[in-house]
Amino acid sequence: MTSTVQTARATTQASPRRRPRPKRHWSRYAYIAPAVVFVAATTLYPLYYNISLSLYDAPIQKFLAGTIEFVGLANYAEELRNPELWAGLRVSLIYTVATIALMYVIGLALAVFFNRKFVGRNAVRAAIFLPYILPSVVAANVWRWILDGSYGLANHALMSLGIIDAPVFWLGQGTSALVAVVLATGWTMAPFAMLLLLAGLQNIPKGLYEAASLDGAGPLTRFRAITLPLLRPVSLVVALLGFIYTFRTFDTIFIMTKGGPGDATTVLPILAYNEAFVNFELGSGATINTLMLVIPTVLALFYFRATRSEDAQ
């Protein structure tokens, strides 16, 4: 779920009406203190703990016995030389970029369509929103069935349409498995992109289109010359948030392929899970965790800067 967009704007929204009376200042902290303490204890502290754990040789037996050994940056040296980490990074980036492209294209098409008024628009738009809130394990399991090589609906439809002549075992081969998880993730994320892009479309002044029509611009020209350029800020937000939320995906891939076949769909979150909860190496799992956070952290900083400078205007 995602509320980031909303708020990045709201953060700096001016509200000159605050501060009714300046006395009893400390009681005001009482409103936010419980939530802040909770988030600090359940987010900041685990992150700190994760970094400190990454400096130890900590297989689970040693961890439970309390005999883990401090090894400094040895885990990092080892992981950075580990081809699995780089393979995981490569898969993560391909998966993330392909998913963003898919969710953006579908989301934009849906947004352009729903930007027009018609009877029943809200009901249909809400129906399309359903895949976004469906539990990801449910969505992944349904896609696993639809893409089943022997009896899946997808093969049946593609063969009836003459697009393929033999059934494809989607989840059985590396490339098609990656396509499959991208498809499933894109399907769940596109409604989110649609909602953001729709809000962006509604902010484009109608007068621009009318003026362009008078100048003889057709619908395609208007889309290219007005819609796309004016949607750029929203598109950037969709791309950044899409990246952050797709890069961290675990459930969909875990249910559909467990990261396989081989390591064809082993994205970094799956790799971290396998290291910590399958191989029971908590130290190196924590190391992968820390390294995995680098890219989204950089993008998040970029996102916060971008939204803040926009607000300042």
Binding site: T4, T7, R28, Y29, A35, T42, A127
Partner: protein, 274 residues
Amino acid sequence: MRTRNLGLSAAGLVIAVIYLIPVYWMVATSLKETGDVFNSPPDLVPSPPTLAAYSDAVFGDSAVLQGIWSSTIITIPTLLLTLALAVPAAYGLARFSLRINGIVMLLMLAAQMLPTISLALPMFAIFSDYGLVDTYAGLIIANTSLALPFAVVMLRPYMLAIPQDLMDAGLLDGCTGFRAFVKIGLPLVQPGLVMVATLTFVMTWGEFVFGLTLATSDAIQPITVVLNRFVAQFGTQWTNLMAVSTIIAIPIVVIFVLLQRYVVAGISEGGIKD
């Protein structure tokens, strides 16, 4: 003009039907006889429809009932705890210009962006020190850690929209600040509360990573993890798998249908434009 509008309505309906084919296929498969899923070409409509998969895999299987029970035991306290912490926090952040507001908002925004697995791993380590691994309490804490930052951030714009005059009037009438917040502020932000409660429910009911990593015994695992166990156990008993999937989806769909106007409004209204 009128006909064109109806043309668009028809097109919208077609788009929605195509987009929701996977959902239809889940329900349709769950209503088939076990062997019928192997028919070629596939039966697009179950004939005859049967509830066999439900009586077999859902009501006849104690693991699934256990999973639904665990998910309920985890979701309801998470929902209450999230609201109890988020509502005052969102109010405080919206109404008082405290020095730490900026950094707190940044914390709440950043917390939502973390991969769940990067919290689950250290939480597993921390919880094992406190005896919280494989307990409902541990799962409730973990799930609240996901929902709370989200709830604070989503609620804050609603709190900003409370007219200050009304709050001032309450204070003049002798209400304390907290009483004015409860008596005057909260009723005004009811749509926001409904939206946040709905989304917290949706998130927690569908949560998987914490369930997978922090609940080690069958008796605690939420229904999402039970479904994953089924995938390993009956890889291709599709009618059963789709029946369990449908059962997991039903509460989400029902709540969403009842409350979607609050949810879509909450995400899109406050969304990009401000």
